[in-house]
């Protein structure tokens, strides 16, 4: 169950870009006089299934400056596994969720291949 190394490279490159973008965003915010931070804690139900996918998702969220995983709720009954994410710029809940969904889509494309990854992201998680 080792993902394709080429896809791992694509995902790692994209993640490095996101880390630079997040670090610059925070840097620009803190060296200019007006502080625009307004933290939020959002619940993110996941489409991921295996432990590897869930823990990679939690680590990727944490390594991106501006978001950190506070807790992982495992699958219970019919509610999907859920991450609780502390976002530094959380004025707009929907845009935070949208960024995280984009990261999850790329992660699933890495672990499952393009077709089944895109397919798993359709619809709400269950």
């Amino acid at each position: 169950m080792i993902p394709n190394p080429l896809r791992v490279g694509v995902y790692a490159g994209w993640l490095a870009g996101e880390v630079i973008r997040g670090a610059l965003r925070i840097g620009v915010d803190v060296i200019t006089p007006n502080l625009r931070m307004s933290p939020a804690i959002v619940a993110l139900p996941l489409h991921c299934e295996t432990d590897l996918e869930i823990s990679t998702m939690a680590s990727s969220i944490t390594i991106t400056p501006g978001t950190i995983t506070l807790g992982i709720a495992p699958r219970t009954g019919d509610s999907p596994p859920t991450l609780y994410v502390h976002a530094l710029y959380g004025e707009d809940r929907d845009s935070v969720i949208e960024d995280l969904r984009d990261m999850e889509r790329r992660l699933l494309v890495m672990t499952r291949g393009r077709r089944s990854g895109e397919q798993a992201m359709e619809g709400e998680p269950s």
Binding site: A23, V30, I41, T62, G71, Y84, L88, G90
Partner: protein, 112 residues
């Protein structure tokens, strides 16, 4: 060639140090403990890997290239990124559960 590599080393080392400094300034200005744990990842995800890469380039210039050192560099970068993110997960969870004071502007809070 050596001059070019030295300039690259300088950019990587000073750039990495600037990321660590930005993280420290963000830590100074943010308002609650969770935000401070949050901004730490720009130091560990960018700053230290850049400095390690700069050190590796200078190592190649002075002592020559070998594969073992390259593996050590890759272990160091992967270690900084993976270990620090796992550690931050544990620290963030512990901070929230121990009832650290939250920024009153935290909204929405879906873990309350």
């Amino acid at each position: 060639m050596t001059l070019l590599l030295t300039i690259l080393t300088g950019v990587l080392c000073i750039g990495g140090a600037i990321f660590v400094l930005l993280s420290a300034i963000a830590m100074l200005r943010s308002r609650d403990g969770l935000s401070r744990i949050n901004v730490l990842s720009s130091a560990t995800g960018m700053g230290l890997p850049w400095i390690a890469t700069g050190v590796y380039i200078q190592h190649v210039v002075v002592h020559g290239f070998d594969v073992i050192t390259l593996i050590k560099l890759l272990v160091a970068i992967a270690g900084f990124i993976i270990m620090s993110s796992v550690a931050s997960n544990a620290l963030g969870r512990a901070a929230y559960r121990s009832g650290a004071p939250l920024d009153p502007a935290t909204d929405p809070n879906e873990l309350a």
